[in-house]
């Protein structure tokens, strides 16, 4: 292992520029003569646009143009798309209304953009926007998904009296990446090319959608660049109306940018499920079946992947870590007059884990069984394991995780700690969550058969320079995830060179071949696997070049710690020699091309299934604790977002969080060359049910919704007549 290879504790390469303030974010980009965009957004949750008059606005000082949905239609700009077609039980395709980048005819949620002003300064754009006269006819609005609506497994349930039933709300969340969304578009009239700088997690996908579906520009004339991006959590996967506007550049041929100032109304939200779930157990506590009926809130429009989140990314995880002979899940995905809901850290898996782990805990309490023991009894033990909900788990050792977690948590000593707390007038509880998730969503053929409009492979190209340094061009995108270091560490490990000699290039569609981007915890399993395969090819070719240098047979070349040697001979060639020789290419002939550059498009054979009782990433736990204790987007009955800013939406801060002990057990994944599993979303998925299980254990009632604020806990105690002096 080289000093900076896999497993080495190194300082992240990218942190230097972020800490000293020389990061290069979209808002840092300034184009000569650039203009600014300001969107007019609907103040109503649901209204017909009877008329919209921009004449006065267009004449305001500094204004270059004012555009509405009618202008987009006249220019034949396409609508935003959803990339995943879902069919209902009866086979009918999902209902999806057209979603133009600027609302036409009617607005469907507070914040829905319907016009945009482009002006010399942001203040001028904002002043002009106030002069746009819109005649709205306010229509009735629906914000509550349960109100927006309204059934094998049944036999398993009929066979037993032991059925645990729960009504669960998975509360709506606002993603809140530290960098708000921003975009700036530029049009070069000389070449007819567009450039769009954008805070996206997947620049190539954005380029494809904007070129092919929204018809802004031919794909080869559109360059999308995602520079440094400050966090995404899923909210920056989607193609938003604002980017369409930016990609258009401006009719006046000036770069025009907008920085999201109203993320609460403009960025996709997450979660928002209402579920009735039941789990049937036999007399010993073995699970006979699970059935769930979920109403999932889509928001006002379909977003880029929102059809898949509450369906294929949710219900397929309802087996959890357990042997479940029967599972039935029915999902009604409903539109309401709220901001669209799409993937947010976990994307369907937190919702599933919450259902399963609450049912297990409550089931244990109802059957007077130890919750850890009930889980252990039901763990899957043989692999591969086919669940009733499509997924085949390849490997796992759930008992080992549970055992380790119980040791770390000192479960044995809990009773004593509980009594000690009681002496001080406090209630103490412990809660478990054994989670599983499916990461690195794959393979392409499988997701295609489920309706996905895209494949979910990843690309990597390794360019070795004549001087021996290396550039890795990856279709993955880092937005705070540390790829510049971890990807470099893999190369360092394999090639025996220090990580300082490795550059990671990403985020620019002009430089990097098509890639699917980063989400769903796929950069490691899929992105790094693509890199591993490309490195395999590099090694193979480098050995050929080394064979030429060492005058040995190719089959005799060994490569270790950055040195090529020939078996049985005393000579060796250093990495640098081989790299240089590849380009000097004095060997070139029919057998060997000059150069040392290889690419790979890697399509995994399966998802990876990380599982455990505690996730790896601290910031994931921040979100996994934020949801059950603090966060929650609230709409009133008129569709107004009550929690419209951080004054009312409790964003977790460092002092909101408990200290954590994090540990891991290892079961290598058989379906990718590195044997690794995704982990980016683990904390956000596993923690919420653990937290709610612990609180309900302490207060002795299950009637507690997320977020379990002090007030909510007090109300629950009041209701169950467990009066405490506690606030």
């Amino acid at each position: 292992m080289s000093a900076t290879g896999i497993g080495a504790a190194v300082r992240r390469k990218e942190d230097h520029r972020f800490i000293i303030g020389t990061g290069h974010y979209t808002h840092d980009i300034n184009r000569p003569g650039q203009a600014y965009a300001y969107f007019l957004r609907s103040p109503h949750a649901h209204a017909a646009i009877k008329s919209i008059d921009v004449k006065a606005a267009a004449q305001m000082p500094g204004v270059l143009t004012v555009l509405t949905g009618a202008d987009l239609a006249a220019d034949k700009i396409g609508n935003l798309i959803c990339g995943w077609m879902i069919h209902s039980k009866d086979g009918t395709p999902m209902k999806m209304a057209p979603r133009p980048a600027l609302a036409t005819g009617k607005v469907c949620h507070v914040g829905d953009p319907l016009a945009v002003v482009i002006a010399e300064t942001l203040a001028q754009a904002r002043d002009a926007a106030e002069k746009i006269a819109v005649d709205y006819e306010v229509l009735p609005a629906v914000a509550d998904p349960a109100a927006a609506q309204k059934k094998g497994v049944d036999a398993a349930f009929r066979s037993t009296k032991q059925v645990t039933k729960l009504d669960i709300v998975n509360n709506r969340l606002v993603p809140n990446a530290i960098e708000p969304r921003a975009a700036i578009g530029d049009y070069d009239s000389g070449t007819g090319s567009f450039t769009l700088w954008n805070t996206t997690q997947n620049p190539h996908v954005a380029r494809l959608v904007i070129a092919a579906f929204v018809c802004m520009a031919p794909e080869h004339k559109l360059r999308v660049i995602a520079p440094d991006v400050g966090g995404g959590f899923g909210s920056k996967i989607f193609i938003y109306p604002e980017e369409v506007r930016r990609a258009m550049g401006v009719q006046a041929c000036r770069a025009a940018g907008e920085v999201g100032g109203r993320s609460f109304l403009a960025d996709a939200h997450g979660r928002d499920h209402v579920t009735h779930a039941e789990m049937a157990f036999d007399a010993d506590g073995k699970i006979l079946g699970l059935r769930a009926k979920t109403v999932a809130n889509l928001g006002a429009y379909m977003s880029t992947f929102s059809s898949s989140i509450p369906t294929y990314l949710y219900a397929t995880l309802l087996s959890g870590q357990y042997e479940m002979p029967q599972i039935y899940c029915e999902v009604d995905a409903v539109y309401t007059n709220t901001v669209p809901v799409d993937a947010y850290r976990g994307a369907g898996r937190p919702e599933a884990t919450f259902v399963v782990e609450r049912l297990m805990e409550v089931g244990a309490r109802e059957m007077a069984q130890d919750p850890a023991e009930l889980r252990r009894k039901n763990f899957i033990r043989t692999f591969p394991h086919q669940t009733p909900v499509i997924m085949t788990y390849d490997t796992g050792d759930y008992g080992a995780s549970l055992k380790k977690a119980m040791e770390l948590a000192d479960r044995k000593g809990f009773g004593k700690r509980k009594r000690e707390s009681a002496r001080h007038g406090k209630l103490r509880g412990i809660g478990f969550s054994s989670y599983i998730e499916a990461c690195g969503i794959a393979p392409s053929q499988a997701v295609g058969s489920l309706g996905a409009g895209v494949g979910l492979w990843e690309s990597a190209e390794v360019r070795v320079n004549p001087t021996g340094s290396v550039e890795i061009l990856t279709g993955s995108h880092t937005h705070g995830r540390g790829h510049e270091t971890t990807f470099a560490q893999l190369a360092s490990e394999r090639l025996g060179i220090p990580i300082d000699n490795v550059s990671i290039v990403h985020g620019d569609t002009d430089k990097v071949q098509f890639g699917m981007g980063t989400y769903g915890s796929r950069s490691g399993a899929v992105g790094m696997s693509a890199l591993a395969k490309a490195l395999d090819k590099i090694e193979a070719k480098a050995k050929k070049v080394a064979a030429y240098i060492l005058e040995a047979a190719e089959g005799d070349i060994e490569f270790k710690d950055g040195k090529f040697s020939a078996a049985g001979m005393d000579k060796s060639a250093a990495w640098g020699d081989v790299a240089l020789n590849a380009y000097i290419a004095h060997f070139s002939g029919q057998e060997l091309e000059p150069g040392l550059k290889e690419g790979s498009f890697y399509d995994p054979t399966n998802f990876t299934f990380p599982a455990g009782v505690e996730g790896r990433v601290h910031d994931g736990v921040a979100q996994g604790v934020g949801q059950p204790l603090y966060e929650g987007a609230v709409y009133d009955e008129h569709g107004q977002l009550v929690t419209g800013s951080f004054m009312d939406y409790a964003m977790p801060r460092a002092d909101h969080l408990p200290s954590m002990t994090v540990d891991t057990t290892v079961t290598r994944c058989p379906s990718n060359p590195l044997g690794i599993k995704g982990c980016g979303e683990a904390g956000a998925i596993a923690a919420p049910p653990a937290v709610i299980n612990a609180i309900t254990d302490a207060i002795g009632t299950e009637e507690l919704a997320m977020p379990a604020t002090a007030q909510a806990v007090w109300a629950a105690l009041q209701k169950s007549n467990r009066i405490a002096e506690a606030a």
Binding site: R126, H424, T643, D648, A710, Q711, E725, A727
Partner: protein, 270 residues
């Protein structure tokens, strides 16, 4: 923000005359309420009168049995002042709990009480200590100063210059935060000075900061949390929103008052 004319008077008299001259002018102290409101375009005063250049409006002084703080004194200065920490330590602690460090280095005591936000901390301290608010025209007792949510007894063109606090024998403040804004969902300030007992509550009342006379009466007999055991205030007239129902706020008043008294007598409830 909308455009405005920015005045920078050098004296209180100049500031007052500007205020009198421009009906819709606003004074700018620390700007921690005014500026965000202006950025959101919820307010657009055409004239702003900045107080930061006026001499003699900041400063902390103890003389005899009272502590006087200049209206433009920043929260962080109150928090770190050895004079305050010695004379009325709870006031230093309270100032240190306002907002965050960035807010504390700009926000001022004068600005806070002139605004009288129903969730602010200083109004509870002023009412809870029986402070006197000194303006360019007169001296106003705290009991007469806070007249309702966001409203005070200040007349047009009247400017707070300093606040004078009698030094109590015992005092404490319990702040239960709104987890989003970090303002007081409910805050209770208690003090005892001789026979004068005060219990002042912020955050809970729909009419702004108020005193709880039933608690004060009970504490007069004995200044101990036991005197307040089982006592509550009615939920009528309490604020209610997604962060706290009227019933919950009323409940918190009792809990926090007991904890504050326990702190004040040096026997905090763990």
């Amino acid at each position: 923000m909308y455009a405005f004319t920015f005045h920078r008077p050098q004296t209180v008299r100049q500031a007052a005359s500007l205020l009198a001259k421009h009906e819709d002018a606003k004074l700018l102290a620390g700007g921690q309420t005014l500026l965000p409101t202006m950025k959101l375009r919820l307010a657009g005063p055409p004239q702003i009168i900045d107080m930061s250049l006026i001499e003699g409006l900041s400063g902390i002084e103890q003389s005899g049995r009272s502590l006087t703080i200049g209206a433009m004194t920043r929260h962080s200065d109150v928090n770190t002042s050895p004079v305050v920490q010695q004379a009325i330590p709870v006031l230093a602690q309270l100032a240190g709990m306002i907002g965050d460090p960035a807010v504390r280095h700009m926000g001022t005591i004068g600005g806070s009480i002139a605004n009288n936000d129903p969730n602010a901390d200083y109004p509870a301290a002023c009412l809870g200590l029986g402070a006197t608010i000194i303006t360019n025209k007169r001296r106003i007792k705290a009991d007469d100063f806070f007249t309702g949510m966001f409203s005070t007894a200040l007349e047009p063109a009247e400017i707070i210059t300093k606040v004078s606090f009698p030094i109590p024998k015992k005092a404490a403040y319990q702040k239960f935060r709104n987890q989003a804004s970090r303002f007081a969902l409910v805050g209770v300030f208690v003090s005892k000075r001789g026979g004068d007992i005060r219990v002042a509550v912020t955050g809970a009342g729909s009419n702004g900061v108020f005193r709880v006379s039933s608690f004060e009466q009970a504490l007069k007999k004995r200044f101990s949390p036991k005197s307040l055991e089982g006592m509550t205030i009615p939920a009528d007239g309490m604020n209610s929103d997604i962060h706290g129902s009227a019933e919950y706020r009323a409940h918190l008043v009792g809990v926090l008052a007991r904890r504050a008294v326990a702190d004040a007598i040096g026997k905090p409830i763990a």
